[in-house]
Symmetry: C2
Subunit: 346 residues, 2 copies
Amino acid sequence: MKAHQVTIKDIAKILGISISTVSRALKNHPDISEETKVQVKDLAHKLNYEPNALALNLRRSKTNTIGVIIPEIIHHFFSSVISGIEDVAYDMGYNVMICQSNESYEREVINAQALLCNRVDGVLISIAKTTLDFDHFRHFTNQGIPMVFFDRICPDIMTDRVITNDEGGAFLATEHLIKIGCKHIAHFAAPQHLLIGQGRFAGYQRALKQYQIQFDPRLVLNCNTRDGAFEKAAQFLNDNPDVDGIFAVNDNTAIAVMQIINKLGKKIPEDIAIVGFGDGPDALITSPPLTTIEQKGYDIGTEAVKLLIHRIENESSSDSFQTKVIPPNLIMRESTDKENVLSANV
Amino acid sequence: MKAHQVTIKDIAKILGISISTVSRALKNHPDISEETKVQVKDLAHKLNYEPNALALNLRRSKTNTIGVIIPEIIHHFFSSVISGIEDVAYDMGYNVMICQSNESYEREVINAQALLCNRVDGVLISIAKTTLDFDHFRHFTNQGIPMVFFDRICPDIMTDRVITNDEGGAFLATEHLIKIGCKHIAHFAAPQHLLIGQGRFAGYQRALKQYQIQFDPRLVLNCNTRDGAFEKAAQFLNDNPDVDGIFAVNDNTAIAVMQIINKLGKKIPEDIAIVGFGDGPDALITSPPLTTIEQKGYDIGTEAVKLLIHRIENESSSDSFQTKVIPPNLIMRESTDKENVLSANV
DNA sequence: AAAATTTCCGCAATCGTTTGCGGTTACGTT
DNA sequence: AACGTAACCGCAAACGATTGCGGAAATTTT
């Protein structure tokens, strides 16, 4: 059962020629006669020979493998990113090794070490929420292994980065609410120690300022999960009955809030319009469908891996590190369609 | 910049001892004196030495890596499976190499080949919809590399398998509709050349039979996607106005149908009750929330990888292959709650 | 016919690690 | 003093592939 994997050594022995000849024959080296080449190739095919990538990698000290460390693969955003990474990596001849940190710092450290041991050619990282220390990443740069951070970047380490324009997206969302006539716009925000939380809050504020709407800190609620919304949103809406627009820091929160608004008997968007952030598939199936800011996970993945492979294959070039910003995009749906613009199409 | 990776050879040279001593010192071999061990370990730590897994793997011809071939990582079901795989693999000291077939046969073949080259210790596979030929998988068995199929299994190859009980789940779903009083239950079905399509259709039929409801082929519609539903569902519901219950082959279809029903002005569940299959997070956020059959992706992943690792680590044991069936589970939500049982809890 | 090419192929080192076996010391025993 | 025996450590082969260099045979050139 345990079939010994076929090697060039086997082929050499059977054909009564040397190992090097077999190797060269398979590579179409000009030194080898046509006759020998045909013999070797035929036998190799007959025996289902597959070159041992381990041996190759060891010799070249290159694995053609890219490591990925992400918080959680089940989040639609991250699996979109991976999908993008995988597609490009595949086209460029790289394998992908995926590790989940599960938002745990300890596990992130171990993941990093595993990738180091396996001598990946480069690493793509989106850091865990609990990670505050970044020494485990410096090992990569010490060993000359390029890194690219995406979405949740590490501000302390100079590398290439790919991020969404959180501030700009939040601005778009808030501006949209203003333009459709909302006067009292609330913001359901992420913790301000996260860059995402900062950026989206800043965009919200800039939009208010630009349209000369007085910023009211009472309209900002620290709430960025589904569960959090079910805890706090109803009370918040009761306390602030004049709120007629909500910009939520992510779709999950927005959707939960919508469900609560529905339950309170208020109408969306007539009474309260709402915008999310993320554009997962969920935004399509709520009632009403949710206006949201596109967070192009797939594109972030492709951009990140392209940057990385470029670094890998041009290690000499000391191009300065760049930060690629994926431009935001507003997707308007019924949750902000006060004028019934969209229903005309149906 | 391009730092040479530290090897035991470097350590040996610096300390003026032999390579083998270094190797043994790091492994706590009893032949080595405490003094040497301390010296070696200290230096290794100081130099950030990481053992080269490539060399190790080559020598042991074992990579501690598991290959995964799945159709598409963005589907919630598959990313749940991967999450389960990753968690268990991590605990047991294995890495995971993920490949997407993107439902393409050609790509699946190339993925399989890549995993072969990289000498993975075992493979987890859910086959692409377009795959009709299975020779590329036989290479694994030829080389003695264990495989486990999950969800979309390959009936032609004898291996371990992990599947959901489609027939049983469909029976539960249909029985539930019957029990809440539906008399004319439609089935939105997947193509019958897929095992999933067959199983779920069979469960539907068995439930009808058991409760002495006449099977009406006109109530079975070949429709298993969101787009398909938007194409055909409205017409179907018009043609069959007496339908008061629907069992859809997956959640996506069910959700799209719900949106259509809503638009037609009918009430869920009063006019039409509906059950899906899959229990993605989507089922929670529709209005009303969707009753559905749990398809435990995470559990399927953990079971599959456990079976695989068992095979890997007991290659001698020729246990006969087993097929693990994950039992179905009905999750009742408002889309079938005619009696307002659930709202009592709110 | 001798010399110069060309054609084709093999030797051996290399990548980094493990490990069986053998070789040095130093110590204790008689 | 001679021997036995630990206690430590190094040599070298092995994993599978690539590749510079050198060498033998065949062919051409002079």
